[in-house]
């Protein structure tokens, strides 16, 4: 018996100190919103791009100069208005007055200069190429870009927000996130939770919520059980496969909205077989994106059928004819490219070589794995044998860098707002493009630079047409954002912007 007593004593000595470190206790009637997220916030400093679900947390603490409404129209954020010169290179932003950061320091032109200065990841990554950024007066900032770009659309991204210069100390060390957002950071327990409290000095409409607690729950099934049991009030990024189950639960509301993300098959146009546009088109005709949405994604999302722009995006041309699934057409095109099934095994050959392709997908998305399997089955009908390789990011990036693959399944690339920045993926200067077409490069550059809105729309329409004609990638599904809340969460309105979580107007009522 004595041994057991000692054992239990030792055990409790070790356990109990750890146990007392639990998060702040929460009474259910308080205005405390608990949200389940899949990944923790690894960093709070603008030196680093916040990845995964961290961005949903950032969007409560930090704000951007330009904001988007729920349908992705640009609207004033921390800047009340902006104008540009005729060249489209020099942009002047007129800032909102009387805004204070969480630590009381005033928001002004210097804060903007700091936020897009040398430390910022957007500047370091050379995504935003600025010649200079200068304060004109206390509440006016002038950006001079290297070339004409639609700057306001860049400045909506939550990963490139306005942070206070006071978030670093005299030695240049980061001391904590200081933003202007409706909530401020109270506590973070690594791998467990992030506790935010209301910013009572918020310049805009103050939230009714006193606290927002982001709970880190890596496993999607656990998140769903936690939502069903009421352990959390809201779950973001609900997997498509869970939607039907949740919709049947009378305690839960599922919110859906089409986003800017589009899943696509990107071809390696630098080597056989996809250096031949006919083979790329054969794939496009073979894949039935309607059926993928209906059967694989439970009707969530819209079949893209080759359309590169989600319909919610600017300059999306709805009049362009899209691909219609046609396996005969697919076989015809393959035959024109020299591929025929001569030995009757169901797989087409050229010079005795069967058409067998390596399709890469990354491990992190089960949705993509299911999409890839559906594509594989559909391609097999057309006589193309696809080998799916599910790889971790590092391994996938290496094969991609070496060009050692035939096709990649990607989810939306370089998309955050309504502007079609993602067309840069097919620009030959992008090392992930695997496609070289000078006409395309020229169009993409002109479209971004041109100032006349009508001509801009025309150019972007031409780009969309070129993507349908040339098929550097076959766009499959326009993704829907799915967020589920318990019914006690009132006033939530889902926005098309991803990744951003809009909580203004949200409150709890049992």
């Amino acid at each position: 018996m004595k041994k057991w007593t000692i054992l239990i004593l030792v055990f409790s000595l070790i356990c109990l100190p750890g146990c007392s470190k639990s998060g702040p206790s929460v009474s259910q009637t308080d205005q405390v919103l608990q949200i389940g997220i899949g990944t923790d916030v690894a960093n709070w400093d603008i030196v680093q791009f916040p990845d995964g679900d961290a961005r949903f947390v950032w969007s409560q603490i930090y704000e951007t100069l330009v904001r988007l409404d729920s349908d992705l129209k640009l609207m004033p954020g921390l800047a009340e208005s902006w104008d540009k010169d005729d060249s489209g290179r020099v942009w002047t932003f007129h800032l909102r007055e009387g805004v204070k950061f969480h630590d009381g320091t005033p928001f002004n032109a210097d804060a903007v200069v700091y936020s897009y200065g040398e430390r910022a990841n957007v500047t370091k990554a050379r995504t935003l190429q600025l010649e200079k950024i200068e304060p004109v007066d206390e509440y006016t900032v002038r950006f001079t870009c290297v070339k004409p770009i639609p700057l306001p659309t860049y400045l909506t991204h939550v990963a490139w927000p306005i942070a206070s210069p006071s978030s670093i100390d005299a030695e240049g060390n980061f001391t904590g996130p200081v933003g202007t957002g409706p909530f401020k950071l109270a506590q973070q327990l690594k791998g467990q939770e992030v506790v935010l409290v209301r910013n009572d000095d918020y310049w805009g409409k103050k939230s009714k919520l006193e606290q927002v607690i982001f709970k880190v729950i890596p496993d999607a099934s656990t998140r769903m059980i936690a939502l069903t049991s009421g352990d959390i009030d809201m779950s973001i990024k609900v997997p498509e496969s869970e939607v039907k189950v949740l919709e049947k639960d009378t305690n839960i509301t599922v919110h859906r909205k089409l986003t800017t993300f589009t899943d696509f098959l990107q071809f390696n146009c630098a080597r056989t077989p996809f250096n031949d546009v006919k083979v790329r088109k054969a794939v496009a005709y073979a894949i039935d994106s309607e059926s993928i949405v209906k059967n694989i994604l439970d009707g969530i999302g819209i079949a893209a059928r080759g359309r590169a722009y989600s319909p919610v995006m600017m300059y999306c041309d709805d009049n362009l004819p899209l691909f219609a699934t046609d396996s005969n057409k697919s076989k015809e095109l393959l035959a024109e490219a020299g591929f025929k099934d001569t030995d009757g095994d169901g797989i087409v050959e050229k010079n005795g070589q069967p058409l067998e392709i390596d399709a890469l997908i990354s491990t992190w998305s089960s949705r993509q794995q299911r999409e890839a399997e559906a594509c594989q089955a559909q391609l097999a009908q057309a006589g193309i044998k696809a080998d799916i390789k599910v790889l971790e990011t590092a391994a996938m990036d290496q094969l991609e860098s070496q060009g050692d693959f035939d096709v990649l399944l990607r989810s939306g690339f370089f998309v955050w707002g309504p502007y079609p920045h993602h067309i840069k993926i097919h620009h030959s200067k992008n090392y992930k493009s695997h496609y070289k077409n000078e006409a395309y490069d020229l169009l993409a550059e002109q479209a971004e630079a041109i100032q006349d809105e009508n001509k801009k729309a025309q150019l972007y329409s031409q780009i969309q047409k070129m993507i349908l004609d040339e098929v550097p990638a076959y766009y499959i599904v326009h993704e829907e954002k799915v967020i589920a809340t318990r019914n006690r969460v009132k006033g939530y309105q889902i926005t098309a912007e991803d990744p951003w979580l809009e909580l203004s107007g949200v409150y709890l009522q049992d």
């Binding site: 055990f11 070790i14 356990c15 400093d45 680093q48 791009f49 467990q192 590092a394 690339f413």
Partner: protein
């Protein structure tokens, strides 16, 4: 005894050196460019370009030959500098220590639960050898080994949290949070320990000292607790040491399912991110832990079997 412990601790240095050396070079054999992965963590997938990747390669010294990179890490670690995580920028030792209490709790609780299940069950199976009780215990053990932990975890969660509402679905903090993950882990471990206890007991029960004790008319219960059990414990304790070592390295699946903030997920994430500073730090930390646990196991032999004395070995 003292000399033995010092010698074992000295061996720890060699183990640590060997393990970190191997990890470092094996990780570099894995596909993927560390500089690209660091760039990915800092700038995001879409903002990668060749220039910024090369800049990071130079800044972080990733362009240097591997032996120099390892040498530099070793130099720092000797000075007690664990370095900063390449992807988050946080000190490595801090990242580890934040999660260690959670891992330690889960490990100990799972060990206790597995012992509470496996010892009585194993002894019962041995004493009632080839009876219904034995078959029952062995069937349970078989189930325990075969059922995947994530599935069992989800089942427990559905039953005890969603339907009965006894325990929280996930998370870390109170003893109530600990129950389900520890139970899931403990059940899996108990399966192996039960079988081992049973076979070890069976073997010991046939030893001459047990037979002679029987001949002397000692009660069967006293033979069991006084003579057999302690001797049967040696392989069991060895097994527990190995299992504990594994657990301290983290039970990734359980940690993921129950959102338990332990070390296992930290290590796996750091491997995916090719975050060498963090990988090396974790591996070093685990090596030290495993050596310590095994040292404890060895010392416990002496208590279980007084014939074992370590001085004689020296």
């Amino acid at each position: 005894m003292f000399r033995y412990i010092t010698r074992r601790l000295a061996a720890l240095l060699i183990v640590a050196l060997g393990v970190t050396f191997l990890t470092f070079f094996i990780m570099h054999l894995a596909p993927g460019d560390p500089a690209e992965m660091v760039a990915l963590a800092r700038y995001g997938q879409e903002n990668l370009n060749r220039e910024s990747i090369e800049l990071i390669r130079q800044e972080e010294g990733l362009d240097k030959p591997l032996y120099l990179q390892y040498g530099r890490w070793l130099q720092h670690i000797i000075r007690g500098e664990w370095g900063n995580s390449l992807s988050t920028g946080e000190p490595v030792l801090k990242e580890i220590m934040v999660r260690f209490p959670a891992t330690l709790q889960l490990t100990l609780a799972a060990l206790v639960i597995s012992l509470l299940i496996s010892l009585p069950l194993g002894i019962l199976a041995a004493v009632k050898h080839n009876t219904l009780a034995d078959y029952f215990a062995m069937t349970l053990a078989l189930l325990g080994v075969s059922i995947p932990a994530f599935w069992l975890g989800l089942l427990f969660m559905l039953l005890f949290s969603l339907i009965l509402g006894w325990f929280p679905v996930y998370g870390y903090g109170t003893l109530r949070h600990l129950v389900l993950p520890a139970l899931t882990l403990g059940c899996g471990m108990a399966a192996i320990t039960t079988r081992l206890t049973r076979s070890s007991m069976l073997e010991v029960m046939e030893q001459e000292y047990v037979i002679s004790a029987r001949a002397r008319g000692i009660k069967e219960r006293d033979i069991l607790t006084g003579h057999a059990l302690k001797n049967a414990f040696i392989p069991v304790v060895t097994m527990l040491g190995i299992q504990a070592g594994h657990l301290l390295e983290g039970a990734v699946v359980i940690e993921t399912v129950f959102a338990w903030p332990g070390l296992g997920k930290l290590l796996v994430d750091s491997i995916f991110a090719r975050d060498f500073a963090l990988i090396q730090g974790c591996v070093l930390f685990f090596a030290a832990l495993v050596v310590m646990v095994n040292l404890l196991v060895d010392i416990s032999y002496m208590y279980l079997d007084p014939r074992i004395r370590f001085e004689k070995e020296v």
